[in-house]
């Protein structure tokens, strides 16, 4: 379908962000080189341009950061909650003030559209700090008994899909409850965490309360295994999550894991089709589908399959893929060459196994890592594309006839993070939501997040909740 009107480029200016050529590790309030002086490059996934060099933390650096956090813990945990609250309120406000800068930075380093960093990531980051700031002096009333105690030093490892938002989900509740943290951002998206270090400086946060270690999986593994870490929080793949669960076995470390998913988005025959289509698109193409709670399996009632797929394909043809800094861009770049290879491999496997592949006509830029929005139909539950988490803009379409069949198919996965239900019938929403084994159920909506709303999975999607009153438990000795 040819567009009626073409869009002129509308790029957000990148001049608002000043990226230094190199960054050190943020330990005990100072930027320092890695112990062995090693560095690695971080690139912009949409252009492959090198954005900066960052230090690659070694085991020795991990130890140094944990020591700094341990030292800072004594005073930080002894501060009145009302004082800790004010630091977090400051951080929330500074994030709001620097929101545009951080949005552009995140888009550059991650590859996701500016529309998303500006309207979703950054507002949620600030809101998360603002929310947990308010808890810091009210912990007695949180339902965990009087005067609940922090755990100590939290080792936190976060993924590349929502770099700053995942940082906020980890750091805000940890600090509010009186813990100190050592956080390792993902290897491919280290920059926003380093800018956050600067926000801590502006907020006057005491030295050592937040330490940021850039590096690869080895630094993360060393952090989790460090004997003086009391709390481990991880968001990432289920495979790594299992390895972490083995590592901490037999210790006193408290663990929360937020892992993979293969969310079912269930559309019943009475659903408002246009709204469902928007929800499906949001569910799997938000952030290029690189979302653990993505609605990557569409379960559509057989009688409306054709109508729904026609509408969906028409809608996908209007999605704009390209420069993530362009304000009209819907689909940005895949985060890394490695992730692109994984998506490509799984999509090719889907085709090889006999599922029918479809993508809209879509021109991919020459440089950078790109993958066109992709639909698979004629998918059965045995197909790899219906079972494995692809973590990309790939939707597998399955059908069902009865609500029971929809529930059985939705639950037929080792994961249990999210699900969607589309129907006009209230009792059906509640009945189906009751039976779905997933931590977050979106009915007649999808991919909504809020700091007050607990988030986390059943089964192999991990355990523990982030957000809300529930999110405090992960950082309290209760």
């Amino acid at each position: 379908m040819a567009p009626v009107f073409d869009y002129a480029p509308a790029p957000e200016s990148r001049s608002i962000v000043d990226i230094a050529s190199s960054y050190g590790l943020f330990i005990d309030g100072e930027f320092t080189e890695a112990a062995d002086g090693k560095v690695f490059k971080t690139v912009s996934p949409s252009t492959e341009e090198v954005l900066a060099e960052v230090a690659e933390a070694t085991e020795e650096d991990v130890d140094r950061a944990v020591k700094a956090a341990r030292k800072a813990f004594e005073k930080w945990s002894a501060l009145p909650g009302s004082e800790r609250a004010k630091y977090l309120f400051r951080i929330a406000r500074i994030i709001q003030e620097r929101s545009r800068e951080l949005a552009v930075l995140e888009t550059l380093d991650n590859g996701k559209p500016i529309k998303e960093t500006r309207d979703a990531d950054l507002p949620l980051v600030a809101a998360h700090f603002f929310y947990y700031a308010g808890w810091a002096d009210k912990l007695d009333h949180a339902g965990y008994g009087a005067n609940p105690k922090p755990l100590g030093v939290a080792g936190q490892v976060i993924p590349w899909n929502f770099p700053l938002l995942m940082l906020a989900w980890k750091i805000a509740p940890a600090l509010a409850t009186g813990n100190t943290v050592v956080l390792k951002p993902a290897e491919t998206t280290p920059l926003s965490a380093l800018f956050f270090a600067d926000i801590c400086r502006q907020a006057g946060l005491p030295k050592g309360v937040v330490n940021i270690l850039t590096g690869d999986g080895r630094a993360g593994a060393a952090l989790i295994a460090h004997p003086d870490v009391n709390k481990v929080a991880f968001t990432g793949s289920t495979a790594v999550g299992k390895e972490i669960a083995r590592t901490v076995a037999g210790t006193r470390k408290k663990v929360t894991l937020e892992l993979g998913g293969k969310g079912a988005n269930i559309v019943f025959d009475d659903a408002p089709i246009d709204q469902a289509v928007e929800g499906i698109v949001n569910g799997i193409f938000f952030n290029q589908g690189q979302v653990c709670c993505a609605g990557s399996r569409l379960l559509v009632q057989e009688s409306v399959q054709d109508e729904l797929l026609d509408s969906l394909k028409r809608r996908l043809s209007t999605l704009r893929l390209g420069d993530p800094l362009d304000k009209n861009t819907d689909i940005g770049a895949i985060n890394s060459a490695e992730q692109l290879a994984r998506i490509t491999k799984l999509a090719d496997l889907g085709e090889a196994e006999g599922a029918e592949r479809w993508s809209p006509a879509c021109e991919l830029p020459e440089n950078g890592y790109w993958f066109a929005p992709t639909l698979f139909t004629n998918v059965t539950q045995a197909h790899t594309v219906a079972r494995d988490e692809i973590f990309g803009p790939v939707l597998s379409v399955l059908t069902f006839r009865t609500p029971d069949e929809a529930v059985a198919k939705a639950n037929n996965t080792p994961y249990g993070l999210s699900a969607g239900i589309w129907t006009e019938k209230g009792s059906r929403i509640l009945a189906v939501a009751n039976k779905l084994r997933a931590g977050v159920i979106w009915s007649n909506t999808f991919n909504k997040f809020d700091p007050t709303s607990p988030f986390g999975g059943y089964k192999e999607s991990g355990f523990g909740r982030e957000g809300g009153r529930h999110g405090l438990e992960a950082y309290l000795d209760v």
Partner: protein
């Protein structure tokens, strides 16, 4: 005192609402605290453990789907049935733990009271740990606790009855089903508990009780892909670590062993919340405009 020869009880497992022997045909000698023979208890095998998981899974849908009020009534019924058999449990606990009659009676009374305590929790825990979330948008948003599924429970080794009840009752109060490994040395009060559960309207399979070597039975449970969680109360440090590693394979929820000096102290909610998931459901609220129509 007549010289009538008393009738001994054959202690059997409790699985799926039935009382099977171990499929292995094995038994082991159970003695009292002074070494006097009490009974031959079933020495459960890996296969018995797997059968118990199947029974627990089969019972999960009905038990978790029962109303909280109904679960509360059934747990209260368990207390009623125990009260009627109080003397039997006092004798079994006295023998098992080498306690005086009065000390054993304290343990049994506390255990019966604990069933009553948890019976009252079934329809309150959701209000205590769940609730509405004030999200910044036009959405209804509700978090509710749900049972995690099939829970393997290694009962405490020392407190053969009160300890057992204290770890089993919270697991099933919230709608989970359980595979319980009784105290290795003192399994008889646990095996007798099966007889009470079987006559308390508790659906078969909600609680399954195995006796034998804790390490032997626990290993297949910790590794089992259809077990959702494991309570390691009855494992020593070395075994607990091994089992926690095995449990990572399907990311079971693990409750590590914690030192308990006194099982008679009123428990908190921790043993319930350890085996609960939180489900959060969103729905748009729309707004009522002049036309009165929502979303």
């Amino acid at each position: 005192m007549s010289d009538r020869l008393n009738v001994l009880k054959t202690y059997k497992l409790y699985v799926g609402g039935k009382f099977p022997r171990s499929e292995s045909g094995r038994v082991y000698e159970v003695t009292d605290a002074k070494g006097k023979w009490l009974a031959n208890a079933p020495l459960s095998s890996r296969k018995d453990a797997r059968d118990a998981v199947v029974a627990a899974r089969k019972a999960f849908g009905g038990w978790s789907g029962a109303t909280a009020y109904n679960r509360g009534q059934i747990l209260y019924r368990v207390a009623e049935m125990l009260e009627g058999r109080r003397d039997q449990y006092v004798r079994e606990v006295a023998e098992a733990e080498g306690l005086s009659k009065s000390k054993a009676a304290e343990q049994v009374d506390a255990a019966i009271d604990r069933w009553v305590w948890y019976a009252g929790w079934t329809d309150k825990i959701a209000q205590v740990v769940g609730g509405g979330n004030p999200v910044a948008g036009p959405f209804f948003n509700l978090s509710s606790p749900e049972p995690t599924g099939v829970v393997a429970v290694l009962a405490p080794q020392e407190s053969s009855f009160l300890g057992l009840v204290s770890v089993v009752a919270p697991v099933i109060a919230t709608g989970n089903t359980a595979v319980v490994v009784a105290s290795e040395k003192s399994p008889l009060p646990a095996l007798s508990l099966g007889e009470v559960l079987a006559t308390s309207d508790l659906p078969g399979g909600v609680v399954n009780i195995l006796s034998g070597r804790t390490a032997e039975i626990a290993a297949p449970l910790a590794a089992h892909q259809d077990v959702n969680a494991i309570d390691l109360a009855g494992a020593d440090e070395v075994l607990a670590k091994e089992l926690e590693i095995a449990a990572a394979d399907n990311l079971k929820r693990v409750l590590r062993p914690q030192p308990v000096d006194n099982w008679t102290a009123t428990p908190g909610t921790d043993r319930m919340t350890a085996f609960l998931e939180t489900k959060t459901v969103w729905h748009p609220t729309g707004s009522l405009g002049a036309s009165g129509s929502a979303y």
